[in-house]
């Protein structure tokens, strides 16, 4: 596939937004069970929700650049019964609404006030948003994992990686963000982010391992029905390429692909893990965590680019030779 930057930004940005909300909700749950002290809810939960919303809205905006007719985008809610893309299109705005409501209620002080009903409403909205957050991860992952022709994606690992990588980036951001607003939570977030880095490193490497050993179901023989060991395309029926060549071939050299394959794990996993470990020492500056997040996000862009570039569509068998 030829990676589209609109989709790369969509999936990475909403991943950060979702992960950050999960991080906020973790703090909320821990406060609820009495494991930690309530952070100053006005600034922490309100600003946290606002930042999460900012990432989600940026991702949503990026997705519009993928469409040929953005003005008709509302129609994409119609086929939620059969299409994972439609489900994603529905869940993302609803999730954003719940995050907005959650932030708004925290801003109004319902969370820490004496009004029990208001407190119950905040807890319900928060739980609903957390559920929608997980559902959105599933929808996003299934958009890719449900296309059985793209064998590199048609695996539960796709779903797991979308969930883990998104959460990981969100918790890394939460660590940086809490260093300024709720320093007593920073250590917890950094530890969770570190654990997620380790786990998602393993699952992402597992998918790399799997994809390196995929045997394509389709061959030029099954594509043409000519079962001769040597069938070579001499002309694909266009003289200067077509949608099929532009959309499904990245056109990069093998070296570029191979280097991105080695660069993204360093940026996403290795460097952030080292920086997070370093930031746990007392002398580290909180700003270091923000740098960690930025490095990791750049790495995630490369990771998503590679995710798309690696997928080999069976239609490519029909488009081997421009002449």
């Amino acid at each position: 596939m030829n990676p589209a930057f609109s989709v790369i930004f969509l999936t990475t940005l909403i991943g950060v937004g979702q992960g950050l909300f999960l991080a906020l909700y973790t703090a909320r749950v821990l406060v609820f069970v009495g494991a930690i002290a309530l952070p100053d809810s006005r600034s922490f939960f309100v600003l946290g929700s606002a930042i999460s919303l900012f990432f989600l809205a940026s991702g949503l905006t990026a997705s519009f650049f993928h469409l040929g007719h953005p003005e008709r985008a509302w129609r994409a809610v119609m086929k939620w019964r059969t299409s994972w893309l439609s489900r994603e299109v529905i869940v993302l705005p609803v999730f954003m609404l719940t995050v907005f409501l959650y932030g708004l209620m925290c801003y109004l002080g319902w969370q820490s006030g004496s009004n029990r009903i208001a407190q119950g409403v905040v807890e319900t909205i928060g739980a609903l948003a957390a559920v929608l957050c997980i559902v959105l991860f599933i929808c996003t992952g299934m958009v890719y994992a449900s296309i059985r022709f793209l064998q590199e994606w048609a695996s539960p690992l796709t779903l797991i990686n979308y969930f883990l990588l998104g959460s990981m980036s969100g918790y890394t951001l939460a660590a940086g963000f809490s260093a300024f607003l709720a320093p007593h939570l920073m250590r917890m977030y950094a530890c969770i982010a570190f654990s997620l880095i380790v786990i998602s490193f393993m699952t992402r490497v597992a998918s790399l391992y799997r994809n390196a050993r995929i045997r394509p179901c389709s061959t030029v023989q099954t594509a043409t029905g000519i079962y001769h060991p040597k069938v070579v395309q001499k002309a694909q029926g266009s003289m200067g390429g077509s949608f099929n060549t532009r959309h499904y071939f990245h056109g990069k050299t093998r070296q570029v692909i191979r280097s991105v394959k080695w660069i993204f794990p360093v940026l996403v996993f290795v460097l952030p893990a080292l920086l997070l470990a370093g930031s746990l020492s007392d002398i580290a500056h909180p700003f270091l965590l923000i740098v960690t997040f930025v490095i990791q996000y750049v790495g995630l862009l490369a990771e998503r680019w590679f995710f798309f570039a690696q997928a080999n569509h069976p239609q490519n068998l029909y488009y081997q030779q421009v002449s």
């Binding site: 008709r72 000519i226 949608f243």
Partner: protein, 243 residues
């Protein structure tokens, strides 16, 4: 149930691209809007086509065969491109099984083309809508056309009649007979999409000709006069009598 489809005879196709040009000319002039043509006379031409003729070389030189391979939407009986469409723009017509795109509903997200293993869908560069072969529904439904012309433009244009059109669910139709009797097959059967369009394979066309077949021993020009000439009311036998 009706399932309209094309059956393409690879044994007969000569790769003249007449089906490509007639398809483009009919469909770019239709009510759905033109098909993009970017830089058509330049060095890097690019445009939307519903049908393309590809060419494959089979075998090792010098023992090779060239196979011309027309490819368009196969109108699968279980089309994977339809359920993934988020807007419902992509659909399979109940009445005759043609897979179509409602261009007014298409948002141009490309997701249906990801779900097509055959690369049969092309996003039109100018209209920004997904477009594909319609089996010329505006011809086959058009009652203003004479009955014999209610066929896809590619079928009408093919000079060698390599393209047959009909209902593959009717066992007596021309296409069903051709599939049954000439080994018609589907592309990429491994995905279970059950394409309606079928291809007839290349066949070895060798005629065993004996000497006596080349020059008939009973060549009428030479021997007719010697044969019996029965009376007009008697039965006549070929090659035996002169009538």
């Amino acid at each position: 149930m009706t399932q309209l489809a094309l059956v393409i005879d690879l044994n007969v196709c000569v790769g003249c691209h007449a089906c490509v040009t007639s398809c483009k000319s009919w469909n770019t002039s239709g009510s759905a809007g033109p098909l993009a043509d970017a830089n058509p006379y330049g060095a890097d031409p690019s445009g939307t086509f519903f049908n393309r003729v590809q060419t494959y070389e089979v075998g090792q030189f010098p023992d090779t065969e060239t196979v011309h391979f027309p490819k368009s939407c196969l109108h699968c009986e279980d089309p994977p491109c339809v359920p993934v469409c988020p807007t419902g723009a992509s659909y399979k017509r109940e009445s005759d099984g043609v897979v179509l795109v409602d261009y007014d509903k298409c948002i141009g997200c490309n997701y249906c083309s990801w779900a097509c293993p055959y690369g049969a869908r092309e996003l039109d560069e100018h209209r920004k809508e997904m477009s594909k072969c319609t089996l010329c529904v505006d011809r086959i439904d058009n009652e203003a056309l004479p009955k014999d012309d209610r066929k896809p433009a590619c079928v009408m244009a093919c000079p060698t009649q390599a393209r047959l059109f009909g209902d593959i669910h009717d066992p007596a139709s021309e296409v069903s007979v051709a599939i049954r009797e000439q080994g018609g097959y589907q592309l990429m059967p491994e995905w279970g999409t059950r394409p309606s369009n079928h291809y007839l394979p290349r066949r070895k066309m060798v005629i065993q000709l004996q000497d006596d077949q080349a020059g008939r021993v009973d060549n009428p020009l030479k021997v007719d006069g010697k044969l019996l000439k029965p009376r007009i009311d008697e039965p006549a036998l070929d090659d035996v009598t002169s009538w």
